[in-house]
């Protein structure tokens, strides 16, 4: 079909960052141009918030809209079949990407946040009793905290929090200690969006499963930075999002073990998720379709498929190795700056560097480095309890992606040094 007309995904050749950069049109633009003043090259270090898109993803979505678009799962006509085939093929790609055992374990959602809410409102509301416990960690994104707080109000569950150690790693002893008889779910991030910490997923499932407790992982960051194998880590649920994986916004993924999904009630009602509907009674489709009410994010699914083709063509291992080099370099450069404190130094962390500078607020750092063309995130990073844990109101965060270079890490360090000098 015409999707193959998009430029071929790169093959598993040695990692070539310049070749990768050529695939991302936005990386050639300048920022802060003004009449009489040349712009600065964009140094995009905010991929943990949202990654930029390669031409392969942009082309795949455009070509799909131009040649094969129709609603899916409905029509008998030519385009409907084409669109359905293309969209459902992405389910297979996602399953393969996460090494899920079957396509039926992959649920499409609008984003990662919706996937958390789905598990809380379906799995949680159906199976948790008042007094039952959900264990989360102190390093969770609000997306893996607030849905459980809402469930707490609705269903009387109790939230237990695993603390974070000074280097940003999870307190595994405390986690083991929290796994009491009332715990119904452990819901923790696979990699922290603030600290970069990669949590020991297999160890967590081993501890929890020994007590018969299922485990949900927030893979929003991890799935972008490293190969993920949901069977190897024995995840019960694994959540990821398209837009951080160089794909479009508007699509997320929930992987769930079949044994869980098959007994979970629907999350939202509507078209596409039903078998038969009468005014008296409605029966629902099997998983995963039961959880996909309404017209799905079709174009976004096509984009996610193209993004997965793109990263797997390069190889998640190769991407991880490249990012680790960047992380080491950036850490070395930033650490050399007097008064700079890196928050999150756990061994084996992903390429995310949160930091503060003595005497300069992160928000000011952000405005200044932006003027040098360097885009970073500043603030609480949707992880307010974690800010409290480290005694900071906010941090500056540089997050690295496959298209970043050591020279860009240098640009960050130089800009940060200049900020520090400005504020004296």
């Amino acid at each position: 079909m015409s999707l193959t007309a998009a430029r071929p995904a790169p093959t598993n050749a040695p990692f070539d960052v310049e070749a990768v950069r050529r695939d991302f049109p936005i990386l050639t633009r300048l920022v802060h141009e003004k009449p009489g003043r040349p712009g600065k090259p964009l140094v995009y270090l905010d991929s943990a918030a949202s990654a930029q898109k390669p031409r392969q993803v942009i082309d795949a979505m455009r070509e799909f809209l131009e040649t094969d678009y129709a609603n899916v799962h409905r029509g008998v006509h030519f385009l409907s079949q084409r669109a359905t085939d293309a969209y459902e093929a992405v389910r297979d790609k996602v399953a393969k990407f996460l090494n899920a055992p079957s396509r039926e374990t992959i649920v499409f959602t609008r984003n990662a946040t919706e996937a958390f809410n789905l598990v809380a409102q379906s799995f949680g509301r159906a199976f948790f009793q008042p007094g039952d416990e959900v264990v989360v960690s102190a390093m969770e994104h609000h997306a893996n905290l607030v849905p459980w707080q809402i469930l707490r109000t609705q269903a009387g569950i109790v939230l237990k929090i695993v603390p974070v150690l000074d280097d940003g790693s999870l307190d595994m002893d405390a986690l083991a200690g929290l796994l009491g008889p009332r715990v119904r779910l452990v819901a923790v991030t696979h990699a922290s969006n603030v600290l970069g910490t990669v949590n020991p997923a297999r160890e967590i499932t081993r501890l929890a499963h020994a007590k018969g407790i299922p485990v949900l992982f927030d893979g929003s960051q991890a799935a972008v930075h490293m190969p993920v194998d949901v069977q190897a880590i024995d995840a019960d649920f694994y959540i990821m999002t398209g837009h951080k994986l160089y794909g479009p916004t508007g699509i997320g993924v929930l992987y769930g073990k079949k044994e869980h999904l098959d007994r979970m009630p629907p999350y939202q009602g509507g078209g596409d998720m039903i078998q038969t509907v009468t005014f008296e009674e409605t029966t629902f489709r099997e998983a995963p379709y039961r959880f996909e009410a309404g017209t799905p994010p079709i174009m976004e699914g096509i984009g996610l498929g193209a993004a997965i083709d793109y990263v797997t063509g390069i190889g998640m291992g190769a991407i991880q190795a490249h990012e680790n080099r960047l992380l080491a370099h950036a850490t070395e450069r930033l650490s050399a700056i007097d008064g700079l404190r890196i928050i999150g130094t756990a061994p084996g962390k992903a390429a995310i560097v949160s930091f503060t500078i003595e005497g300069v607020h992160p928000h000011d750092i952000g405005t200044f480095v932006d003027r040098a063309g360097v885009a970073i995130r500043v603030g609480r990073h949707c992880a307010e309890p974690l800010m409290d844990r480290f005694g900071v109101g906010a941090t500056a965060r540089a997050s690295f992606a496959m298209y970043n270079t050591e020279a860009e890490a240098d640009a960050l360090a130089d800009a940060v040094k200049a900020v520090k000098e400005f504020f004296g």
Binding site: G359, V360, H361, P362, H363, D364, T367, F368, R371, A372, V378, G379, R380, E384, M387, G393, A394, A415, A418, V419, F422, F423
Partner: protein
């Protein structure tokens, strides 16, 4: 590297940001509110002491935030002393316009203290930085909440 940031980060702002005036919770106050900017994590509290006829006898603040929000809060507390509640609100209206609108779009806020206006002018650079307007206005929003007996305000 940062020449065009000098309009925003003027010496006065850097000074007030680094050495905020009227900083710290006072022993005596009769109006107060907490302000929160969830986007960047700034949190401040404003404490006012109003006398019988509604004149601000003392204004203080504490909390943490960026140079812009700290400087704005510091300047505000200096300006508020001796002003009536109505004058304070009018200055807030002017300040908000200054941070968000072109000069010809400003509303009529009545007669305002010239010295106060001059002082506030150093923050007018924020107009070119829409993402930073909330930093500059947080203290004023919080002052407004305190005047109206609201415990907590947010600039989101």
């Amino acid at each position: 590297m940062f020449d065009d940031l000098r309009d925003l980060y003027q010496e006065v702002i850097l000074d007030h940001g680094k050495n905020p005036r009227n900083f710290g919770k006072p022993d005596e106050f009769n109006r107060h509110a907490r302000g929160d900017n969830p986007m960047c994590g700034d949190k401040i509290a404003v404490y006012l002491l109003l006398d019988q006829d509604g004149t601000v006898r003392d204004a203080r603040f504490d909390g943490r935030g960026c140079a812009i929000s700290q400087a704005s809060a510091s300047l505000m507390t200096e300006i508020l002393k001796g002003k009536t509640a109505a004058e304070a609100e009018a200055l807030f209206g002017h300040f908000h316009d200054m941070c968000t609108k072109d000069d010809d779009q400003h509303g009529d806020h009545g007669h305002l203290d010239e010295e106060a206006l001059e002082k506030l002018q150093v923050l007018s650079g924020v107009r070119e930085f829409p993402m930073r307007v909330k930093c500059a206005t947080l203290a004023w929003h919080t002052m407004h909440a305190a005047m109206h007996g609201e415990e907590k305000t947010s600039t989101e």
